[in-house]
């Protein structure tokens, strides 16, 4: 019996039968996976029929929180959604902050596991006493904000938090996202499409169960130390002012800001699309996730549009990555993408890839419904995004995602898709951040940085690098040396943040979480004892569990990067001349993980 931290219960919902079942969370089961992402993976591994159609009723859509979600731990806001991905066919998962995670925690369910298919369209209202299946055909086609407000008003309870899909999810675009708190996005791997395939418009949560702690006083002392570390972090002021949008100028400064689909790493007009100009001209206030002291998000108003965001990935995907020199356009697209529920990275990739292929005449207008898309063609991009979300016209083809759509064309066009394992690469050119390159290559959900977020390689802390990873070069962004060690360490810390369900910008980038303080937090929080070494070991095992699951899904793709990053050096800027020696790093990584036989 678990008394503290955890809600202690698992909710199973069958939408077809409109039935639900509540099962206890077993201490022996949860101890080795802690919570959040790792617990979701374990559940899929044990209970999902891995031959399932990702968009079929049998796929399991799991919403998971952790033992410390909704506690006084700063930014303990996150929740992870996991399922088999319709975009990649392998493990899909995506986390988001905002207010949903803490509110879900108050239902007393650590995981909400959804199968089946609703008919007609449904939303679920989950409270601590159970589930209501609410028919909602009137919400079809409604955007996230409308859906959220309607559910709150209809239930006469404005404390309800809602995770919903937009039209892209309803129409099962394989890179559709789930959005909560109005604009907080579970963006990657198409969890919104899985939700749409279940005809589930939204999951609404509101419970009465408080988060209790095993030793509240000791826990709050530990939290004070973490609060202090955040406050004195040299990046605090910058993150408070700009959040992730600070990366526009930061990445440009080191020559790795994706420009014209990774053809360039330096963007001449970065000052027109930077986080600084956004903050100065359009931001009206800071926004924040649950219990965070950084408040790194923002609300903006500009002509005709207003919204929370954008985060760096959306900002870059809809400016430099596709050759657009117009911040107001990106602000409008941020609203459109979030409210129709499209992943901005995958959407930006299919558009950027098409631009490059058309420039190279690998794809002719007659191949794509007469479309002739040039760099920075804003009005056409605006139309395309609408068409992708609604799966209309040529949008229906692009809505397959760049990897799948490219199969219609020649090998040269296929090779230009910036993806690993079918997931589109984020906005950060790996030629100038080698540990990130390795992370994209080995990440179990496909090209992605969040599995490790090896931010350390940008810190130039050579002394610490030598101590922690055996070589000062681990802190040199252009070197491949020590990067396998760095990623092997960082992916455990990243998984730890996903399990404690805190923000990675804080936990990892601001370096406030380690095995020692986390072991204490978990003990004071839950009463379950961990020692730091044991914690590190079990996190390592959880990293491998992802790979076992992917094997069961029949993964066929390799741990590598697109040729552009391994063969074509950048031609200008501070990363000029560099390519990624990915094979060497992957080999080293596999050796460290003893993966020769997997």
């Amino acid at each position: 019996m678990i008394e503290h931290g955890y809600g202690g219960r698992i909710l199973y919902v069958d939408l077809t039968e409109r039935e639900f079942q509540i099962k206890p969370l077993k201490k022996g089961w949860i101890k080795n996976v802690i919570g959040g992402r790792a617990a979701n993976t374990k559940r899929l591994l044990e209970e999902l029929d891995t031959s399932c159609d990702p968009l079929g009723p049998e796929n399991m859509l799991i919403f998971g929180v952790g033992p410390l979600t909704g506690s006084i731990l700063p930014a303990s806001a996150y929740y992870t959604i996991s399922a088999r991905s319709p975009l990649t066919g392998i493990l899909g998962d995506s986390a988001a902050g905002g207010q949903f995670g803490a509110r879900m925690k108050s239902t007393g369910f650590d995981q909400i596991i959804i199968t089946g298919r609703g008919d007609p369209m449904l939303y679920l209202l989950v409270t601590d006493s159970g589930v209501r299946f609410v028919q909602c055909p009137e919400l079809e086609g409604k955007n996230i904000l409308e859906t959220t407000e309607k559910i709150r008003k209809n239930n006469r309870d404005h404390s309800i938090e809602v995770a919903a899909i937009g039209v892209a999810g309803e129409r099962e675009v394989p890179f559709a996202c789930v959005v909560s708190s109005g604009n907080r996005v579970n963006g990657r791997t198409g969890m919104g499409a899985v939700m749409g395939s279940k005809n589930l418009k939204a999951l609404a949560v509101a419970g009465n169960r408080p988060v209790t702690l095993h030793d509240p006083l000791a826990f709050s002392e530990e939290v004070k130390n973490i609060e202090y570390k955040i406050k004195v972090n040299p990046e605090y002021d910058k993150r408070h002012r700009l959040g992730t949008t600070m990366l526009m100028k930061d990445l440009n400064g080191i020559g790795i800001l994706p420009t014209n689909h990774f053809r360039k790493g330096v963007c001449d007009y970065v000052d027109d699309i930077s986080g600084e100009i956004l903050a100065d001209r359009y931001k009206v206030k800071n926004k924040s996730c649950y219990n965070c002291s950084v408040h790194c998000s923002r609300y903006y108003i500009c002509q005709g549009t207003e919204s929370e965001g954008p985060e760096f990935e959306t900002l870059c995907s809809f400016t430099s990555r596709i050759g657009v020199n117009d911040l107001e356009f990106a602000l409008d697209m941020n609203y459109q993408l979030n409210q129709t529920g499209l992943d901005s990275i995958s959407t930006g990739e299919v558009i950027g890839w098409l631009m490059e292929c058309q420039e190279r005449e690998l794809i002719k207008p007659e191949d794509v419904d007469g479309l002739n898309l040039g760099w920075g063609d804003k009005e056409k991009v605006r139309e395309l995004v609408h068409m992708i979300a609604h799966r209309e016209g040529i949008g229906k083809e692009l809505a397959q995602g760049a990897t799948k759509f490219s199969e219609k064309f020649g090998e040269e066009a296929q090779k230009l898709v910036m993806q690993v394992k079918g997931l589109d690469i984020i906005c950060g050119d790996p030629r100038g951040i080698k540990a990130y390159g390795l992370t994209y290559a080995v990440s179990s959900r496909g090209a992605d940085h969040l599995r490790a977020e090896p931010y350390f390689e940008l810190t130039e802390q050579y002394d610490i690098a030598e101590k922690r990873f055996g070589t000062p070069k681990a802190a040199d962004r252009l070197s491949e040396e020590g990067k396998a060690e760095l990623v092997t360490y960082s992916e455990k810390i990243a998984l730890l943040t996903d399990s404690l369900t805190i923000c990675k910008n804080i936990g990892l980038c601001m370096d406030v979480i380690n095995f020692e303080n986390s072991a204490r937090l978990l003990y004071y929080g839950t009463g379950i004892e961990y020692n730091p070494d044991e914690l590190e070991t079990l996190l390592g095992e959880s990293v491998k569990r992802d790979l076992v699951l992917n094997e069961k899904f029949g993964i066929k793709t390799e741990d590598t990067l697109p040729d552009r990053f391994t063969k074509e050096p950048l031609k200008e800027g501070p990363t000029k001349g560099s390519v990624v020696n990915i094979e060497k790093m992957v080999e080293e990584y596999r050796r460290l993980h003893d993966l020769r036989n997997v």
Partner: protein, 170 residues
């Protein structure tokens, strides 16, 4: 009273979390005496807390369980309270709400409000003696549930803020 500068609030709930934890060692908005409303489609966030209104609508307690403390804070006698919910119904802004039969309302932490310490945005301050009238608000929110009253109150306050934003950004 505790004064809210709505333009500074980011909706993080640190005030709410700190309040609940200080009073109970647990966290949940129902255990907090200051409750945050996020209105996502308006970009407005704000805590709602007892405004120590001139009218003291909550004091019309049939069991005579409510009195005002030295700092003007609302004190509920647990022995006299009969859990009838009149205070919750009477509060025009949803600053009193019952949870597990106990009325939760701001007690100013005995003069050192923890919510103000927890706010890193400077959105909360303590102004002893300050009072406002909620007579008009009372008419607007009659019959609403506490979260609806908070939504209404923050919508009204947020409306003024949004006008300012428009002026500044145009």
């Amino acid at each position: 009273m505790i004064v809210v500068d709505i333009s500074r609030c980011t909706g993080c709930r640190r005030c709410e979390t700190a309040c609940a934890f200080y009073h109970t060692g647990k966290t949940h908005r129902n255990l907090s005496r200051i409750k945050v409303m996020n209105i996502y489609d308006k970009g407005v966030d704000s805590p709602v807390v007892c405004l120590q209104c001139e009218e003291r609508f909550c004091a019309q307690c049939p069991a005579d369980a409510i009195r005002m403390g030295d700092h003007g804070e609302v004190l509920v006698s647990p022995t006299l309270c009969v859990e009838c919910g009149a205070c919750e119904r009477n509060c025009p802004v949803g600053a009193v709400e019952l949870f597990e039969d106990i009325p939760f309302v701001c007690d100013l932490c005995g003069g050192k409000p923890r919510c103000i310490e927890a706010c890193t945005q400077g959105a909360l301050s303590y102004e002893p003696g300050k009072q406002v009238s909620l007579k008009d608000r009372k008419k607007e929110t009659d019959g609403m549930k506490p979260s609806e009253k908070r939504y209404h109150h923050v919508s009204m306050e947020g409306g003024k803020l949004r006008q300012r934003w428009r002026v500044e950004n145009d």
